[in-house]
């Protein structure tokens, strides 16, 4: 019975932890302008993250080693170093966006200027990363993130033409007043928002933190293959709500407050308060994950002791990096840069960084030296290779599309 609860907890945490500030903003933006005609991009992204998260979780469970640890072994120190610099920069950019997201969410609750909140959020994140137990951090923030289910409820309450919505999603019918290039740009952005590069590094490191072994593979697969798709459904619900309420008014989303208005329209103050709880939890959870990922990638490259599963004094370099990263993120946000703009950029650059992170995982999860008989089967390899091609295409297309469409205008 307790095993059932453990599995259920894992799945619920995975659902609640799936959405971050990138998903919130991008799905709302896309929903308001394109409705569900880009839902296929989210779907493809969700399948992709499932495939690679399962691989990286399996690597951690079988070999007891986290993925970035193995990136240097497989690719060598030079390519591994370039990989480190690139993926760490993107992860840090995402970290800045997430902390900004927490500040924006709290601003909506207490109506204090975002800049006044940023330092406190930075301190809170650093304290959680330093002191809180890993599993408690994951479970608490993941479960509270489930509050975002209110978007699904709101979508239901708005009483849409379900047939029309499904048709829009299935036929990917771009609205007539939007350009094809903007459509393509947002497809790439949604892809990058769903397939966040840090997720696989975090997931495998988290597996080592929690001491996974081969017995945990089944539970891990349940979390990934049930939790992530349901989390992806939340993303689509956010887009649907934006389409139904913001779309007819020609409102384009450029602030977090606009993302929640459809929930207010459908469910009033109570619904909106639940949504705010979801915003804060999801962004705070993602801030912790990205902060840890910055620490994981640097320490795992150099082989230094990492992890929250040891006492901070045993992993001094790791915690020093976390502190510096938190300070750096707060400093970046105090330059008054708009966190929404940072989010938009992090999502696009995530798409660019995807091949760097996914290629090593595909190689490592096929290596019998690490995996024994748990190497990739034919399905995992087929999907993995397909997505490798897809992420390369998205990576190459991302920056030209960003420049050509001026970030989707």
């Amino acid at each position: 019975m307790s095993r059932f609860f453990a599995v259920a907890l894992g799945i619920l945490t995975a659902i609640g932890g799936f959405v971050d500030i990138g998903d919130l903003v991008t799905n709302a933006q896309v929903g308001a302008r394109f409705g569900l005609s880009l839902a296929w991009a989210t779907l493809v992204g969700v399948v992709g993250i499932c495939v690679f998260a399962e691989m990286s979780g399996r690597v951690a469970a079988v070999s007891g080693r986290a993925t970035f640890d193995l990136v240097r072994e497989r690719l060598g120190p030079r390519v591994g170093f370039l990989n480190l610099v690139a993926s760490m920069s993107i992860t840090f950019l995402t970290f800045v966006a997430e902390i900004g997201g927490v500040a924006l969410s709290l601003q909506l609750v207490v109506s204090v200027h975002e800049l006044l909140l940023v330092p406190w959020v930075g301190v809170a994140v650093w304290l959680i990363l330093w002191k809180a137990k890993f599993s408690i951090m994951e479970n608490v923030l993941g479960l509270f993130g489930l509050a975002l289910v209110v978007f699904g409820v709101a979508l239901w309450q708005l009483g849409p033409d379900w047939g029309g919505l499904l048709q829009q999603a299935a036929t990917a019918s771009k609205p007539a007043d939007e350009h094809g290039s903007t459509y393509a740009y947002y497809a790439v952005a949604l892809f990058g928002a769903a397939m966040t590069p840090y997720e696989v590094f975090f997931f495998s490191s988290g597996g080592v933190e929690e001491g996974w072994s081969t017995q945990d593979i089944l539970v891990m697969r349940a979390n990934v293959l049930i939790g992530f798709p349901l989390g992806g459904l939340l993303s689509v619900a956010i887009a649907g709500c934006a389409w139904l309420v913001l779309g007819p008014l020609n409102i384009s989303v450029d602030s977090l407050g606009q993302v929640g208005l459809p929930v207010a329209a459908a469910l009033g103050k109570v619904g909106l308060s639940v949504a705010l709880l979801g915003f804060v939890s999801a962004t705070l959870g993602a801030a912790c994950e990205t902060g840890l990922s910055v620490g994981y990638s640097i320490t795992q490259y150099f082989g230094a002791q990492w992890g929250k599963y040891v006492r901070p004094r045993e992993a001094a370099v790791f915690h020093a990096i976390l502190l510096l990263a938190s300070l750096g993120a707060v400093a970046t946000l105090m330059t008054m840069v708009d966190p929404i703009v940072v989010t938009e950029m992090s999502v696009v650059f995530s798409a660019v960084a995807l091949p760097l992170t996914y290629f090593p995982i595909l190689v490592v999860s096929n290596d019998p030296d690490y995996m024994g008989d748990q190497v990739n089967g034919h399905l995992a390899n087929a999907l993995g290779s397909l997505f490798l091609v897809l992420v390369c295409v998205a990576a190459v297309a991302a920056i030209p599309l960003m420049i050509y469409t001026r970030m989707g205008q």
């Binding site: 079988v62 060598g76 072994s213 595909l362 190689v363 030296d369 190497v375």
Partner: protein, 228 residues
């Protein structure tokens, strides 16, 4: 963790760059202390033997290779000019190594385990060396070396892998014939179709000139070192 299923690799033949370099080092209590940034090779009676594991920036930076590596090494040496032997890497003698599976395990605790009193040849220098044949023709580079246990239990170089491409870029796809996914295996196979293997007796290593002179050309593609 399934480490217990994997045998101690130090007892058998293995490939240096593939199986030993860049491995995580764990002490006897499972705590991390760095990576195998390089290997110290010493000429002994039975051949070129691995005498220590090298770790730290002085060992890692030269392996980054090319202009970047050279510049970083220079910067590193200038960061603390008063320090003697700044470019000498930290070493862990092979006596303190217990076993090798997916990581390198030491038999001692990590506190104070690093020493820096001697310096020898480095494996990282050997890989990447230009290899020329009997007629001075350019045959490629040393991509890896195959080690086997020698007279005193130490790993000794028995073969050199020569090919076109950087060390480690075979990604292990020459080890197992059926290693997937097909797309990656096919690409690596094409890039490395001319990789060959040569006995160490047929090679003359010129450390100062960073060159290897072969008396016989390399023979066909190498098979698996870990004989699965």
């Amino acid at each position: 963790m399934s480490d217990a299923d994997l045998d101690d690799r130090l007892a058998g033949p293995l490939d240096g760059a593939l199986n030993l370099l860049d491995r995580q080092i764990l002490d006897c209590e499972g705590r991390m202390l760095g990576k195998v940034d390089d290997l110290e090779l010493t000429q002994q009676e039975d051949g070129l033997a691995v005498t220590a594991v090298l770790t730290g920036p002085a060992a890692l930076l030269p392996r980054l290779g090319g202009d970047l590596g050279d510049r970083l090494v220079t910067t590193w040496s200038r960061l603390k000019v008063p320090e003697p032997n700044r470019l000498r890497p930290w070493r862990i003698d092979m006596d303190r190594v217990d076993r090798l599976d997916s990581a390198l395990h030491l038999s001692v605790r990590r506190e104070g385990v690093l020493t820096r009193d001697t310096e020898g040849y480095r494996f990282g220098t050997l890989t990447g060396m230009e290899a020329s044949g009997p007629d001075d023709g350019h045959l490629g580079r040393v991509v890896d070396a195959r080690f086997e246990p020698g007279l005193h239990g130490r790993l000794v170089v028995r073969h050199l892998l020569i090919g076109h491409g950087r060390p480690g870029s075979l990604l292990g796809y020459d080890r197992h014939d059926q290693q997937g996914p097909w797309l990656v295996r096919a690409t690596v196979g094409r890039l490395h179709r001319s990789t060959g293997i040569v006995d160490i007796e047929a090679a003359r290593i010129l450390w100062n000139r960073r060159e290897v002179r072969l008396t016989t050309p390399p023979r066909a593609r190498p098979g698996a070192a870990l004989g699965d």
